[in-house]
């Protein structure tokens, strides 16, 4: 036993890095070996149901507050909500509070257009990139409630019937920071409905807003994105084009199992040393 404990204690960290690396990459090569079954959280379901309940011609507002550094978690979420809206002929307004996120959003829409069923969607008709404004998000919101179209200086058929932000039925803020709190703090003044899609790091900070009802729903990290993909696949979306987050879930699970294993082994060494009052 002592020899085993000694080996564990002297184990080079790099073996753990290697195991984590393999646990992340192997599920991509052998996806059938790792079947994925997980339930859908009610926060994710709520965002899905709200967008699903909108009528043709309604409008949603996507607040794209992330750049490529967070695309692993947030891009699949944004992709699914945008596709869901486009499927239902809901108009999509995409605003970029971060300058470095614009090309990511533009690329996503270009890629969506290549998928079957979305070939005919048009910028300015079905969706629009509202771009970046060099003023604070709060000021943008005030301006949108004054004159939505003039705020961004854009033109298009998509603006028909949208005079102020009050004509937008729902908004979702995607961020890897406390950015959605800016909208939440202005909710009492304007009374709009909103959901959020956040990274797992920020998720716990946003949970209180769910309980208080300030957020209608929330997509939480990669799992939230995978749940949303599953909801869309169940409603008829083609799996081939809608499994970016699901592809990562097996890696996420396997890497966590490896981590649990090493946390357990670390505790074993700790308690063994404490019990026998000696340092190996």
């Amino acid at each position: 036993m002592e020899k085993f404990i000694y080996t564990l204690k002297k184990l080079d960290k790099r073996w753990i890095y290697l195991l984590i690396f393999l646990s992340c990459i192997i599920p991509f090569w052998f996806p059938d070996m790792f079947p994925q079954e997980f339930s859908t959280s009610k926060e994710t379901q709520r965002v899905y149901d709200i967008i699903n309940g909108l009528n043709e011609g309604d409008a949603i507002f996507i607040d794209w507050a992330f750049d490529p550094t967070l695309q692993a978690e947030l891009l699949p979420m944004a992709e699914q909500t945008i596709k869901q809206a486009l499927d239902k002929k809901i108009r999509v307004f995409i605003y970029y509070p971060l300058l470095t996120g614009i090309s990511l959003g533009e690329n996503l829409l270009e890629n969506i257009k290549k998928e079957p069923g979305y070939e005919n969607i048009e910028n300015g008709v079905d969706y629009i990139h509202l771009g970046y404004l060099p003023i604070g998000v709060d000021m943008v919101l005030f301006s949108m409630y004054s004159d939505f179209k003039a705020t961004f200086g854009k033109e298009g058929k998509i603006f028909e019937g949208i005079k102020t932000f009050g004509d937008i039925k729902y908004m979702v803020s995607y961020a890897g920071s406390a950015h959605p709190e800016i909208y939440i703090s202005l909710q009492p003044r304007f009374g709009f409905k909103m959901g959020a899609g956040v990274t797992a790091v920020v998720g716990p900070d946003m949970v209180p807003y769910l309980q208080t009802g300030q957020l209608d729903g929330m997509l939480f990290g990669l799992k939230g994105a995978a749940e949303y993909e599953n909801l869309r696949i169940k409603s008829g979306a083609e799996k081939k084009y809608n499994q970016k987050a699901n592809a990562g879930m097996a890696s996420l699970n396997l890497s966590h199992i490896i981590m649990f294993l090493f946390i357990g082994l670390g505790n074993l060494v700790y308690f063994y040393e404490r019990k026998y009052k000696k340092s190996i």
Binding site: E73, T100, P204, G248
Partner: protein, 252 residues
């Protein structure tokens, strides 16, 4: 110019080159997990340089030109009194550059004073309003949905907050009832930190999974580049750099 475009199209913008570059830089950055090495430094500095360059070009094209130069040019052709506000903000914003001067740095304070006053005047009422709504809404479920889960959750929030605060109450020794409450407080704090840490780890792994997916989707470049970098690291640490640096000591 056509030659330049041709070269760019066939190098940086070529999809095959892009895939190889993506894999190359991913593995270069991951090579740090073995030991600090020049390839990692190259990747790190390339990333920083490109990020800054990209940010500058986008800021120039998407902010400075459309919101400053174009309106200034238009005002020169067709002057309107409200164009003066644009000049005013340019002057006020430019005072930030006085921070480079030791003697004249105070001039920038006017700009900071304006920003702080604006933020305080604007944010405080809104934040207070939002906090009151949050506090009031938090209590609602106890009366609206009196299920066991909601009631127990309510008590955890109230008592947990109180117990957590008691842990930081040092005016009396942590003995008796206060000691027990503080003990529960630290347990609740630890559960909170554990949940946050767990979510952080999950987020970081998710970020790495994004890169792992790139490597898995490009098997040939991944294998070729991994082998090449492994050979390089072997040669570098065996024959070129033999003495461990500070980072190497920290790794072991």
């Amino acid at each position: 110019m056509d030659t330049v475009n041709f070269i760019i199209d066939n190098t940086i913008l070529n999809p095959v080159v892009q895939r190889w570059m993506s894999v190359l830089f991913t593995i270069m950055m991951l090579s740090f997990l073995y030991r600090d090495n020049p390839l990692y430094k190259l990747g790190e500095n390339t990333f920083l340089g490109i990020s800054l360059g990209f940010g500058w070009v986008w800021s120039w094209n998407r902010i400075i030109v459309p919101y400053l130069f174009v309106p200034l040019k238009d005002s020169y052709l067709d002057f309107q009194p409200y164009d003066l506000t644009l000049v005013l903000w340019v002057i006020i914003g430019s005072t930030m550059f006085f921070r480079f001067s030791r003697n004249k740095g105070w001039i920038a304070n006017y700009w900071f004073a304006f920003v702080f006053a604006y933020v305080a005047g604007y944010s405080i009422p809104i934040q207070v309003q939002a906090l009151f709504i949050q506090g009031a809404n938090m209590m609602k479920p106890l009366f609206e949905y009196p299920t066991f889960f909601e009631i127990s959750k309510w008590f955890v929030i109230i008592f947990g907050t109180f117990a957590g605060l008691m842990y930081f109450f040092f005016s009396k020794p942590h003995r008796g009832l206060l000691g027990k409450t503080a003990r529960i407080g630290i347990l609740i704090l630890m559960i909170n930190f554990g949940a946050s840490f767990g979510a952080t780890v999950m987020g970081r792994i998710a970020l790495f999974i994004g890169r792992a997916q790139v490597l898995a989707d490009n098997i040939v470049p991944s294998i070729v580049i991994t082998l090449s970098i492994t050979v390089y690291l072997f040669i570098y640490f065996k024959y070129i750099k033999k003495e461990p640096g500070l980072d190497d000591e920290l790794m072991h």
